[in-house]
């Protein structure tokens, strides 16, 4: 691409990195994905957050062209997924497997590099992944962390415009995690789009520009970390109050739910002050506590991870 080609650049900017239109995926009678519409802008770092079985992996597989949607369409930078892969536009890093144990680190990278039309030089990729020192070591003799670096080196070979990561920092220490994310962010600033599936809510909140929450094959929330938290905003007021009048509590403004646990009453409300004032002035409530919901609670209330347990 040349800088003089303005129209093309403008088109390219507008081109979404990923676009899913009414995508569903059935496995026999199991509806893994029940209708997802999603558009990722170029250069975004997006967390794909949801409990197990929410359809995250199935969706990622469809973006990679490893499986076909039952209905709907998937496009990656304006191409069909397989076409995007053939052009080296998309890479993915798997959490486990995907390596031949009897190849050396350098052989693995050279093997992968030879399959693309254009790649960065093997030595450069080894160097930037910090595995030049173990280049001649057999993969079987590499530690888990070294193997993960190797997987990243392989994924970065074609200089992908879209990088998909499945639980990328599992097994990394705090320092490794920080280094990893600063590298990811540097590349995103140059235009690379990153979509990562994660169970680490904190990680999603801390490093993603945008969080897409999925539950039972549907997107239940989509926004920044603070927007997601605001969706499930509110506080919990807990007090000891035998024979609480739950109807009166529920009738208070801004109360979402009322729960009675033995002698305790738990009130989830947007206006916790009003609830506290009522409890302390109109009732015999004592031992009053007010707690705010964290992202963890937001996650649970939005994805219904609680319900999963009971099913």
């Amino acid at each position: 691409m040349t800088m003089t080609d303005h129209t093309r650049s403008a088109d390219a900017v507008r081109l979404p990195a990923v676009r899913l239109d009414g995508v569903t995926k059935d496995f026999g009678s199991v509806h893994a994905v029940r209708g997802i519409d999603l558009e990722l802008r170029q250069g975004e770092i997006v967390a794909f957050l949801g409990p197990n079985g929410a359809g995250k992996t199935t969706t990622i597989d469809m973006i990679l062209g490893l499986s076909q949607p039952t209905t709907g369409t998937v496009s990656v930078l304006g191409h069909q997924p397989r076409q995007a892969i053939a052009r080296g536009l998309v890479s993915a890093v798997m959490q486990t497997g995907g390596l031949l144990k009897d190849l050396t680190v350098r052989e693995t990278v050279a093997y992968t590099a030879s399959l693309f039309a254009d790649t960065k030089p093997v030595d450069e990729v080894l160097d930037s992944a910090g595995i030049t020192g173990i280049a001649d070591r057999k993969v079987a003799k590499c530690s888990g962390g070294e193997q993960q670096r190797l997987r990243f080196a392989m994924a970065l070979l074609p200089d992908p415009a879209l990088l998909l990561l499945d639980e990328p920092t599992t097994g990394m220490d705090v320092e490794g995690r920080r280094t990893f994310w600063s590298a990811i962010r540097r590349d995103a600033e140059r235009g690379r789009t990153v979509l990562f599936a994660t169970h680490y809510l904190e990680e999603a909140d801390q490093y993603a520009d945008r969080i897409v929450l999925v539950r039972e094959g549907r997107i239940v929330a989509d926004g920044s970390g603070s927007e997601i938290k605001a969706l499930a905003a509110g506080r919990t007021v807990r007090a000891t109050l035998p024979d609480a009048d739950t109807d009166a509590l529920a009738a208070l403004g801004g109360v979402d739910s009322v729960e009675v646990r033995g002698d305790s009453v738990l009130v989830h409300a947007k206006d916790s002050d009003a609830v506290a004032r009522y409890l302390l002035t109109e009732t015999t409530a004592r031992d009053l506590e007010i707690t705010s919901k964290g992202l963890e609670d937001a996650f649970i209330s939005l994805t219904g991870a609680d319900d999963e347990e009971q099913k």
């Binding site: 990195a17 990679l64 892969i85 536009l89 052989e107 050279a110």
Partner: protein, 264 residues
């Protein structure tokens, strides 16, 4: 992404697709080196068939006539077939093992066309098969007993090489049925049994009931084809046998591949 930084847009059309579905010599070179440093492969490819030839080929009647050559030549061609078949089968089983390891999935994230992957694996099986056949033939030359015209020698070797494709397909099939390293535990004794029934180790007497059964086994047809330049005799049933078993193994491998519900 902060609004102040405008990322460089990616122009997807500026990216090229590799020619020939990703077929390239670097992969072939790395794969070949990988096989050559595998001691077990080398043992089964180079030493085992040659050793079998030396033990079977020392029979008292080694210099009796057999078609256009002698009995030693007949045994040499048979042992080369056995060695190449074993090699090809283990190569085929590796396809299934690589899939179990997630390597096939990794390759699906590259431009490599799955058909090109199988083609490259088949080429490697042919190269390794050629190594196995050469090993037995060189042993035969060194021993000095086998005798047949040079053109027959070459024709037998080439036919043997292509016949081993039947066992490469069998290897893929069995590799899917019996996952992991256990595939060779099945293929090793299995191929030895087929070789006995296929007239590869010991000539079976025509007309006996065991011969009637043997005629239907997978090694029988290819063995007749491999020795055809030497014996000058190729029953049509042998060709049907070879083609049919090749078809069955390819269909079986394709069936197991498509049934494989694990993530690619």
């Amino acid at each position: 992404m902060s609004t102040s930084t405008i990322p460089t847009p990616v122009d997807p059309d500026a990216r090229r697709v590799p020619p020939m579905g990703g077929f390239n010599l670097t992969v072939l070179r790395i794969e070949l080196r990988r096989m050559l440093r595998n001691r077990r492969t080398m043992f089964f490819t180079l030493l085992f068939p040659a050793a079998l030839f030396l033990s079977f080929g020392g029979q008292p009647n080694w210099n009796d006539n057999a078609g256009h050559g002698n009995v030693a030549a007949y045994i040499m061609v048979s042992m080369a077939l056995y060695g190449a078949a074993l090699t090809a089968a283990s190569g085929g089983a590796m396809v299934a093992m690589e899939r179990a390891l997630g390597w096939s999935r990794q390759l699906r994230l590259t431009p490599l066309n799955p058909a090109v992957y199988i083609l490259m694996k088949a080429l490697l099986a042919l190269v390794l098969g050629a190594v196995a056949i050469t090993a037995v033939n060189v042993t035969g030359i060194a021993q000095g007993k086998p005798h047949m015209p040079v053109h027959v020698w070459i024709e037998c070797a080439v036919l043997t090489l292509f016949c081993t494709m039947v066992f490469a397909a069998l290897g893929v099939f069995v590799g899917y049925l019996v996952p992991g390293e256990n595939a060779m535990q099945v293929l090793g004794p299995g191929l030895a049994l087929f070789s006995f029934l296929g007239n590869v180790f010991i000539p079976l007497d025509e007309g006996t009931w065991i011969y009637r059964i043997a005629e239907w086994t997978p090694m029988f047809g290819v063995a007749e084809i491999s020795r055809w330049p030497l014996t000058g005799d190729l029953p049509w049933t042998a060709v049907v046998n070879a083609v049919a078993w090749f078809g069955i193994f390819v269909a079986g491998a394709a069936w197991r591949m498509s049934k494989d519900t694990a993530r690619v």
